[in-house]
Every structure is written in C-alpha cells, then in structure tokens.
C-alpha cells in the first residue's frame, strides 16, 4: 500500500510494475474518499451533545487524529519508511510533547497548590 517499487528497466517487467502502481493509486483514492467521509462525520458529530464540552473536544480530536494518521501512514508513506526518518520523528515527538508539557506546567502553582 506504500511506495511502489522503482520502475523496472526490463520491458516485460514494466507492465507488471504499471499494474502494481495502479493498485497503489486505487489505495490512494480510497484513502482520499475515507478522509472526506470522516470530515463529514466530524462535522455531524460536532452537533451531537456528548454530555460535556470536554467530551465533544475529545471525540473531535480522536477523529482528527485518525484522519491525520491516515495521511501520515499512506500519503506520506510513513507505514513503511526508512529507519533514519523514524529516528528523526521520535526526536520530534519527544520535543513536541515537551512543548505541550511546558504549557501544562504553566498552570502549576507551587505556592497555592
């Protein structure tokens, strides 16, 4: 479902390759359709009352994360990428969580806790 293999220099293998790429293209189209369907679902769910505002935020972010995961895994080929890319992303993940944690830290009050 990811990177189609590099095109073959041998004539009879080229046809097989083209078939392979076409299969990938079908996958990309399906992912696109899924993303649009989930956009409509997100909008619809935002008009459903899940009890609290926090619950609604959680549901919307869950759907958004799923959609973002699809984009990253399929369109950005992250489901089968080289090791170095994953390493870069692990570092990024670590630092971005640190960043969000700093925001959380801003509410920490050592005097009045």
């Amino acid at each position: 479902m990811n990177n189609p293999p590099d095109i073959s220099p041998v004539e009879h293998e080229t046809e097989e390759y083209a078939h392979e790429v076409r299969r990938h293209v079908r996958g990309y189209l399906m992912v696109g359709a899924t993303l649009i369907a989930f956009t409509i679902i997100t909008v619809a769910l935002s008009y459903v009352n899940f009890g609290t505002q926090k619950a609604n935020v959680a549901v919307a972010l869950l759907v958004a994360t799923f959609k973002a995961g699809l984009v990253a895994a399929i369109f950005m080929h992250l489901s089968a990428e080289k090791r170095l890319i994953y390493r870069v992303l692990i570092f990024t993940g670590f630092f971005v969580f640190g960043l969000f944690w700093l925001t959380y830290l801003a509410w920490y009050d050592p005097v009045h806790r």
Binding site: I7, A18, Y28, T39
Partner: protein
C-alpha cells in the same frame, strides 16, 4: 561536479538527500505549529465560562475547504504516481488540479472568509451592565439550562464611525440571530448554516462596553489565534502552490527528460510538504470551526 544521492539512495541510510532534508524541515514545522497549538490550548482552557466564542465561523465553507485540501493531497500523490509510470501528460493534469485546489483554498480564505470577519462587529458588555442588555443576551435562560453565559453582542455595526469618534456615545448594531432571539432554544448551540444579521437594531452605550471591535486579531484571544494559525497555514499553502508551479515549468520538464526519477523524487518531496499542510488543517478545522 555532480551532487551525489539526488536520485539514487545512499547505501547506509537507504535515502536520497531531499528525503532526509524534507523530513528534517517537517520536524521543525511540527515544532512551529506545535508552539502555536499549545498557545491555543493554553488560552482556550484558561478562558472563563462564556469568554471563548462559539459558532462565529462559517462551517459549510470550512468543510468545503477541508474537502478541497484533501482532494489536492490525493491529486499530488496521483501526479507522483503518474511520473513513476512515466506518463508526463497525466502528471501535468494532476499537478494542474493540485495547483487549482491550492488557489481555490486561498481564494476562499482570503477573499471570502477573512473579509467577512473584518466586517463583523462584537461588543463585550461590562459585568455590571449585563442585566441591562438581558433582552439580547438571554443569560437567565442559559443559567436555567446550565449553559455558559453570553457576554458579547455581535452583528453588523451600522455606525462604523463610532469606533473612532469619542463624541459618539453608542454603537448601533443590526443583531445576529443569536442576540436577536437569545431565549430561543434553537440558539443554544451553533448552527451549521450561518444566518445573516437580522433587521433588529440594538443601541449599546459605550460606557456599558468593556471592549468592542470588528472581528480582527485584536478582538479576542480566539480571533488572535485563529488569524495567526490560519494565516501561517495559508502562507504554507501559498508556498506549496509556488513550488508546484515551478514543477510545471520547462525547467522541470528538462529534468524529466534527463532523468524521470529525479523529477519524481522532487514531486514526492513537495508532496510530503503538501500532505503536512493538509494534516495541520485536519486539526485546525475542528478546533476553530466546530468546537
């Protein structure tokens, strides 16, 4: 001297130069948008009840723009696949559609959504004057239902000169439906289809107003973060469109004739950036338009 690894991969990493480059760049982009999103979360969670506006953006337009971006993500990947299949005509068609989608997104944003906001007015009423404007706010009704109070009256400002002229003592507003009929249960939650300002005019005295302005970045923490994040995102869309335009130029066709894989790699890298821009929007849309 020829630069190595522009087309073929290095043996140790299995990657060509631009692939490593774009991912390092995207890592820095994650930090850039991460900082802004964390600021947004901070502002939003710290806002008191009724201080964070809801339902001020046009949801159908936002949904349409989301679909446009998703479609363009599909077409850019199809353009890349067309290059892999050595079909230059198909590549050009998909690339052109991608560019059109990007331009359409920007036009909707800059020529429709933003100007509409700049033309909309809101006045935050002072705490002790809220009762005086109860007929437009409906706070008793909201309190009974356990909903957060309304502190702002919004609509179309009739006397715009009131914003600058200190001698004018009041604002005349053609009210939004929510303030024209605040106790109507249908107004308790934002609507999908936006409704235009009503014919009902309210006069609000300036001395009762804590702060009033058009829907500009300085209007509130909400609009400050909305314009900052969508503005930065829009700049990324523009950047992507420019790169895609370059990839349609004869210079790129020459690269294709020389080595098709070289152009395919460039398109893949530009595509990765474009998908990232799409991915950011997937979070921006629910956070600003829906919640």
């Amino acid at each position: 001297m020829e630069i190595p690894y522009t087309v073929s991969a290095r043996r140790d990493t299995g990657l060509w130069n631009a692939k490593v480059g774009i991912w390092l760049f995207l890592a820095s982009e994650v930090m850039l948008f991460g900082g802004l999103f964390s600021a947004y979360i901070f502002l939003r969670l710290d806002a008191g009840p009724g201080d964070w506006p809801h339902g001020l953006l046009n949801v159908p337009v936002g949904t349409g723009n989301t679909a446009i971006l998703i479609a363009s993500s599909v077409t850019v990947v199809l353009a890349w696949a067309a290059l892999k299949m050595r079909d230059l005509t198909k590549y050009r068609i998909y690339m052109a559609i991608t560019i059109l989608c990007g331009v359409a997104f920007l036009v909707v944003k800059l020529a429709y959504e933003w100007p509409q906001k700049f033309d909309h007015f809101g006045a935050f009423i002072k705490e002790d004057a809220l009762g005086k404007y109860e007929q437009y706010l409906g706070n008793k009704h909201l309190l009974e239902k356990g909903l957060p109070p309304r502190k702002e009256i919004t609509g179309h400002l009739h006397n715009k000169e009131a914003l600058k002229d200190p001698n004018i003592k009041e604002y005349e507003i053609a009210l939004d439906p929510i303030n024209a009929d605040p106790t109507n249960p249908a107004m308790d939650r934002p609507h999908f289809w936006p409704k235009p300002a009503t014919e009902k005019i309210a006069t609000i005295e300036k001395e009762d107003v804590q702060y009033a302005n058009m829907f500009l970045p300085k209007h509130s923490a909400y609009f400050a973060s909305y314009f900052t994040i969508t503005g930065l995102h829009g700049a990324h869309v523009l950047g992507g469109v420019l790169v895609f335009c370059y990839m349609m130029l004869p210079a790129s066709t020459r690269i294709y004739r020389h080595n098709p894989e070289h152009l395919a790699n460039r398109v893949e890298v530009a595509g990765l950036f474009w998908h990232f821009v799409d991915l950011v929007w997937i979070f921006v849309f629910p956070l600003f338009y829906l919640l």
